[in-house]
């Protein structure tokens, strides 16, 4: 850390070369993080402990034009999710069953018609998330067409929608007569159209862990959305909407949430194969830059509905169901560590759930 420079002859020793902390942080991020994390107790540069996640705030229905929206801010990461419903008319000759399932198996006929293209609806289903990293949200992502991160995120969110089956597809159907005859006649009613939901996620500010924030924003926005009641008008042969927005989208009872961990290698050991590493919950972008492994867990905890919005802590005795695990890069996270991460994920999901329950739904 010191540089020898020729000094004029003299008795006084040159002052040792020192860096200000901010300079050290810039020029040697790996060492800077390592110094923090090897400290006892380990503290991250942002002052959090490794298992601590950032505080977050949630505001729903702040966008007046969208059918539903949410703003989520976790630390310096801020995302807006707006939901826009559009009516998809089932044209004669279209097979409605291909919209009906979250995982539609490819048939040879649809395969020949091109399983992609065609407005995105044929393979993308009815719920289409899209992520945009706005200009200036981070220095790393300049203006231009969506880069690798935005595309990967869009696809991950799309997969999350499919995996969680969050939205009841029944609430997206538009039947030919909506006279409130009840669901018993559902089989005889003909599906005339669907609501297709565009989930547009805009990242205003990016400071790591955008997946968790984006997914939380999507869940919150879907929960707050109100669509106009659409019905089929037989005389005009068109779908009409009422002006009033009072048709909620029905979601699952137990909402699943994602939690992301980043693994920072600590290359202080001599043996390169067995280097130690430390897991950080909810990494910021500085930590993500140094991370070699990313672990994302999607889990649901079933809360007792009687307890309403106050899940008990600790969460022992509650059933936690894992719906998705994604671990990429590196080789340091073992199976046992995944198990211990699940507890952190569960408690984070509970916090998400609580804050979502506090948010008042829009007046009908």
């Amino acid at each position: 850390m010191s540089i020898l420079t020729p000094q004029p002859a003299g008795d006084s020793l040159p002052p040792p070369l020192t860096f200000s902390t901010s300079l050290f942080r810039q020029i040697s991020p790996a060492l800077y993080l390592e110094r923090h994390l090897t400290h006892s107790p380990p503290t991250r540069p942002n002052g959090r402990s490794p298992s601590q996640c950032r505080d977050f705030t949630l505001t729903t229905n702040s966008l007046s034009h969208a059918h539903g929206s949410a703003v989520v801010r976790a630390g310096d990461t801020a995302v807006v999710c707006g939901i826009r419903g559009e009516i998809l008319t089932v044209a004669p000759g279209d097979d409605p069953s291909r919209f009906e399932s979250y995982h539609c198996p490819p048939t040879s006929a649809t395969h020949a018609c091109g399983s992609r293209g065609a407005g995105g609806a044929s393979w993308g289903g009815l719920i289409i998330p899209n992520v945009e990293l706005s200009t200036g949200c981070s220095k790393k992502y300049p203006l231009g067409p969506p880069g690798g991160l935005a595309q990967t995120l869009s696809d991950q969110l799309h997969e999350l929608v499919n995996v969680t089956k969050l939205v009841s597809l029944d609430s997206l159907r538009i039947y030919d007569s909506d006279d409130g005859s009840g669901s018993s006649l559902a089989s005889t009613k003909k599906i005339k159209g669907y609501w297709s939901l565009y989930l547009d996620v805009l990242c205003i500010s990016l400071d790591g862990n955008i997946l968790d924030a984006a997914w939380y924003a999507i869940v919150a926005a879907l929960k707050s959305s109100r669509l106009p009641l659409a019905s089929w008008n037989q005389t005009e042969e068109r779908i009409f909407c009422q002006a009033l927005l009072n048709h909620p989208i029905s979601l699952r009872q137990s909402l699943p949430f994602t939690t992301t961990f980043a693994l920072i290698p600590l290359p202080n050991s001599e043996n390169h194969r067995k280097e130690t590493a430390i897991l950080l919950n909810d990494p910021d972008s500085y930590e993500e830059g140094e991370a070699c492994e990313i672990l994302t867990i999607l889990c649901t905890t079933e809360f007792d509905p009687a307890q309403g919005d106050s899940p008990r802590f600790p969460l022992a005795g509650l059933r936690t169901r894992v719906e998705k695990i994604e671990k990429r890069g590196g080789w340091n996270i073992g199976l046992t560590q995944i198990e211990s991460c699940l507890d952190l994920a569960t408690s984070k999901a509970a916090r998400y759930f609580q804050s979502l329950a506090k948010e008042q739904p829009a007046p009908l």
Partner: protein, 261 residues
């Protein structure tokens, strides 16, 4: 070549122009992947890293132009290879990997494509002589939804794992989960969850891509889906065994007397 439902068909160096290439066919779903590796090459100044090699992964779809799914696949492969390849051995160079999906049952299904892509890429890296820390192998497992239903044509692919009791018997589930290795799209559509597990030769976890994939119309009917973590850990242990024993054996056999490792 072979007709076993567990052994993939591998042909090495089908492309004479590249440094290393491999064609891999999944025995059951007939997903065929062709990969080529070139490197170390000259790197574009923009992507140059001062003390590491730049890894570029391009996944080309069989139909149409590359979309978000291909970008995601290539980023998954990229992050796995980043830790496998000893990038500091060839600083300021480019290692370029191109994977072409030649044939697939479902060109948009991530779980069906990921395992063949990873295995094929790793084999072609070995052929190209790119220095790697260790060798990995990927396996795709599907847990079936209905434990009672018999599915034809999966003999030899199925194994059973005992399930841990949930305590509250709220569902009439069997006490074991039925796991199918190398499922094709037909079996995957019957599955409850799909797990792509990649382990290194030493048994370290390289990649996990596990997701719930049961059919359904969503909403409240999807409540209570998912799996228990202990069930998953059992499955992962089994996956580790498959990768470390059979996977390494497949690689060794495929490479034959090439003396790569």
């Amino acid at each position: 070549m072979t007709s076993s439902p567990l052994t993939p068909e591998i042909s090495l160096n089908p492309l004479p122009q590249s440094d290393g290439s491999c064609q891999y066919t999944c025995p059951t779903s007939r997903t065929t992947i062709l990969t080529s590796v070139n490197g170390p090459l000259e790197v574009r100044p923009k992507d140059e890293l001062p003390n590491h090699a730049t890894i570029e992964v391009i996944v080309k779809p069989g139909i149409g132009v590359a979309g978000v799914r291909e970008t995601r696949l290539s980023s998954l492969i990229h992050s796995t290879l980043q830790s496998l390849i000893l990038t500091n051995h060839h600083p300021r160079t480019l290692i370029q990997i191109v994977a072409q999906i030649v044939q697939a049952e479902d060109h948009t299904s991530l779980p069906l494509l990921l395992t063949p892509l990873l295995n094929c890429t790793i084999l072609s890296l070995l052929i190209a002589g790119i220095p790697m820390r260790t060798v990995g192998w990927s396996v795709h497992l599907a847990v079936l939804q209905d434990t009672k239903k018999d599915i034809k044509g999966v003999e030899g692919q199925v194994f059973k794992l005992a399930k841990t009791g949930d305590g509250d018997a709220m569902e009439t589930e069997g006490d074991e989960q039925i796991v199918v290795r190398n499922p094709n799209s037909e079996i995957l559509s019957l599955a409850k969850s799909s797990h792509t597990l990649t382990f290194s030769k030493e048994g370290d976890v390289l990649l996990i891509e596990s997701l719930e994939c049961s059919q359904g119309s969503g909403g409240e009917s999807a409540d209570g889906q998912g799996w228990d973590i202990t069930d998953f850990l059992k499955l992962a242990e089994e996956g580790k065994r498959i990768c470390c024993e059979e996977g390494v054996e497949i690689v060794r056999e495929a490479l034959g007397d090439r003396k790569v490792f």
